[in-house]
Point group: C2
Chain length 558, copies 2
């Protein structure tokens, strides 16, 4: 269903405009722009990780195009929490304009600052905490504590004369979180009584029935697995999951083991979390991994990255015996993580590799070693009932997630016409408690590939897909510029098509004949001659090999 793009009207005074630039119809690159009286507030600025139909792409950014010419109007970027899909694109935004202020909690800002340091950017920042109110341009912001799979996450209430908006960011409602910092339903209730005009709400788990189990349930499982492990233990998890790491530290400590952190991002993030007091490291439990190797096997736990089967991360390298720590018989590997859809094959390749080396692999599929970071349907119903928002815009999720979330909203009595199923680029105007879709701007995929940003196009990716599926055949013919006669070639080189280029020997005379024929009928233009070459070999390959590789004909004059 291609989206029909149409321009929104000029923004009327007293009206708040909301445009999601990413995160709707996809899990990642969350970014929403709010406009009031000529000023822009951005909430989140994350990246999306590519799927297999986007080969070679490193990252996908939100499309900054709708705000590129208005960077001076941005009064701030609120970052709700420190996950890549909410902060990862900040360096690319700040490369366009370095002094846009970043607003977020202590941990969130520390994580983005560490990231920006690698890009050699020192940002302007404003640290906020739950309960705090800040006037940023025409936007009156209030921050509300929410619970998620990273500490110090915040929802943000945005007040303008046009109405009150609440954006949750990512959240869940663990009622017994490890740090005691629950999603602040009292604040939600107070905002609800004041009247929430528009509710932007996390949809990631909207199609999961019931309630996300408490993070606290994982500790005893980790403890049991570690207690029974005869030799070394390796736990893999996300490098920002402070509470998961906390539970590993505690379980290791309780079992008389020390913990070595592995992986650059794990070491960096946990350093930050410990420095800021979010990670409580039991005295003497951490050990440098080089020293850890001298400990007896049953006194060590390695905490590593690579839980998604990423080929360059520690766990994959261990499975391939390409890491100083080589797993073997008696070792226990725990994948304390989700399986992000699309990563299953990679994860199972790692699990198989480790199993083959003799290790016991404990994962989500055979033990309770992971819970989600997002509110399931039951929790979302609580939110709707306590907030009773006038209008709802489900965000953060594939279309089916947004749809499921809208359905939950309707079930709590929000009229269908007030639940907005938007896409990236949907322009929503809010005025006097009425939210309406007034336009749809074009939003593209911005691919980061190597050092290039936005240079690789969908056409390039289509070429890559053809090349990757079918390979290519290049045909070079050198013709005499005066006579048009073949001076050299046709030379044929193929990659990914056939084991031996000699299979093309029989088509060379056909190409030469077709070119002679074309020359006879007066064709001299190199491009036209190239097309003759393309057609001749294309037809031959199609018939004789039943394949459709990319064909690159080159007719050169000499």
């Amino acid at each position: 269903m291609p989206t029909t793009v149409y321009d929104p009207p000029a923004l009327a005074p007293g009206t708040l405009r909301v445009i999601p630039l990413g995160g709707l119809g996809e899990v990642g690159r969350n970014m929403t722009v709010f406009e009031y009286e000529g000023k822009l507030l951005v909430v989140d600025c994350g990246v999306l990780f590519p799927e297999e139909h986007q080969p070679g792409v490193d990252l996908i950014l939100p499309d900054f195009e709708p705000i590129r010419h208005r960077l001076d109007d941005i009064v701030g970027v609120v970052l709700t929490h420190g996950h890549e899909d909410h902060i990862g694109a900040v360096p690319y935004l700040l490369k366009l304009k370095g002094d846009i202020p970043l607003i977020g909690s202590g941990l969130t800002l520390a994580l983005i600052e560490a990231k920006l340091k690698e890009h050699r950017i020192r940002p302007y920042t404003l640290t906020v905490e739950e309960g705090q109110r800040e006037k940023v341009g025409p936007f009156d912001l209030e921050f509300v504590a929410v619970n998620h799979s990273i500490p110090d996450a915040l929802a943000v209430a945005i007040r303008t004369p046009a109405g009150l908006v609440l954006a949750t960011g990512d959240f869940k409602m663990d009622q017994l979180p490890l740090d005691g910092r629950i999603t602040d339903l009292r604040a939600f209730a107070r905002l609800g009584e004041e009247g929430v005009d528009l509710f932007l709400v996390d949809s990631t788990n909207a199609d999961v029935p019931g309630f996300t189990p408490t993070e606290r349930g994982i500790g005893p499982v980790l403890d049991q697995v570690i207690a029974r492990a005869p030799r070394r233990v390796v736990v893999a998890s996300f490098s920002s999951h402070v509470h998961r790491v906390q539970q590993v530290l505690d379980a290791a400590h309780a079992n008389g083991r020390r913990v070595a952190l592995l992986g650059r991002s794990m070491v960096r993030n946990m350093g930050i979390a410990a420095d800021l007091g979010y990670l409580n490291v039991p005295e003497g439990v951490l050990i440098d991994y080089k020293k850890a190797r001298d400990l007896p096997d049953n006194q060590i736990v390695y905490m590593s990255t690579g839980s998604q089967g990423e080929p360059m991360a520690v766990l994959s390298r261990m499975a391939n015996l390409d890491h100083a720590i080589e797993p073997g018989e008696g070792d226990t590997i725990i994948l304390a993580s989700s399986q992000i859809p699309g990563n299953e094959n990679a994860i199972y390749r790692v699990i198989d590799g480790l199993t083959k080396l003799g290790a016991t692999v404990v994962h989500k599929g055979n033990a309770k070693v992971h819970v989600s970071g997002h509110a399931a349907a039951g929790e979302l119903l609580y939110c709707y009932n306590i907030l009773k928002p006038k209008n709802v815009l489900p965000v953060h999720g594939e279309y089916r997630h947004l749809m499921a979330n809208a359905k939950l909203a309707r079930e709590t009595g929000i009229p269908e016409e007030n639940t907005i199923l938007g896409e990236n680029g949907t322009v929503v105007d809010l005025r006097d408690g009425v939210a309406s879709v007034v336009g749809q701007v074009d939003i593209g995929f911005v691919y980061v590939d190597g050092s290039s940003v936005g240079e690789i196009t969908d056409a390039d990716l289509k070429d890559r897909r053809i090349l990757g599926e079918e390979g290519f055949i290049s045909v070079i013919v050198v013709v005499d510029s005066a006579t048009g006669k073949i001076v050299s070639g046709p030379e044929i080189h193929a990659r990914g098509v056939a084991e031996d280029d000699r299979v093309f020997d029989s088509v060379k005379p056909k190409i030469a004949a077709a070119l002679a024929e074309a020359a006879k009928s007066g064709v001299r233009d190199n491009h036209a001659l190239s097309q003759v070459v393309r057609r001749t070999i294309g037809r031959w390959v199609n018939q004789s090999l039943r394949r459709r590789p990319m064909i690159v004909p080159m007719v050169i004059e000499a």
Copy 2:
């Protein structure tokens, strides 16, 4: 962990040799060869479907190499059931020698015969049924009923003077199967009392705790969903899952709806199943799909293929509005199927597409509309306890599945040294109740791609992966054969690398200079000059674009 290949000794008289050619360390291309007194018996001959690191590949076959020179010694191919991963490679085997007899149940042979007809092969066949004994060369075969996600599946007991082998094929132990045909545990008990010397057992679900629920549990769910569906219903499932289709027919019939079958393989397989009496079609329930479109929406159920998100199958085409049946508001789509690992992204793309069109999508994730076809751990324990085999060779599965299955065997008291963790090509000799690994033959991947079989190599796939991730740059330089001077070029063409070939303008003089330099120092060989071109542009691309595309330099004399 690369496998060490070593030759087995010559086969001693009175010894049975077992070599799995596929299906160990992978889910698919199941094939095992048994040799006794110079004669070969093959059990199953299936295909494996490619993963994303095998781009462009249509199918993967077992490696016939170890038996290619001994085709005349094959006394028969036993096909345990009619799934592609057990019969799909038969046409390729019969292309090598057309008169190898196929042995299997009525439905299994009917399915392979329909397949062979498309390849214009008429096979020799021997139809067998449960309880039957057949002497095939030196092999005394007994067939045992097993329950699986396709009717008429058989296990096979193979008796030779070397001992008694039982190969389960794929199976589970549904105690209330739709057709009442349970896995014959009385036969298992009898074989156990006789003494099973070697047990080849399905490992697919060995790491799933408990018991696979009964297929019968799905009927009421289908009935309920269909009863509540306001408009059209589409059910997608595997095209050979006769019992699933049966339950759809029954549920449709009970709700006053008619059923139209969609998809070539669905129509073909269900025609075969109905003709042979495996599918019981309620009077008047089936309708041609062209006529179905004239029925009121609430009187029709479409039964289709495409439950794995295959891009060319009916369901994907519906989701893309590329099928005569265009789903919309009020329609209900049921994916009554598993999600084969690796297919999740494709499946979710289809689910999202359908949701976006307004349809309600019911799937494994939100309703009990699928059960597995394989025995889970609990069922396997029953098997081990009733059979008490002397030796076990877990088959059909990734390494972690084989490992889990071996663990279950040990838990029932089978000594560790008698559970053989084999790989494809592991040579197991059985004599006097003793099974031992005596060799490891080399087993490769045989890729079918278009009309080519075994011509695409792993090197080609590596090229494709590089091309698919990074694209390529070709550089053509025409040099004067006498002077070595550049006559034309360098011309640079890239695909999948950059939007515009003009980015390479700045490197052209560098290439020309490098070639001139090389010529000055006496380099004249075209290959050596090509390497100069490769190094020059390779270094430039690496530094300026931070990328590593394939580089194809061509220096041509004219």
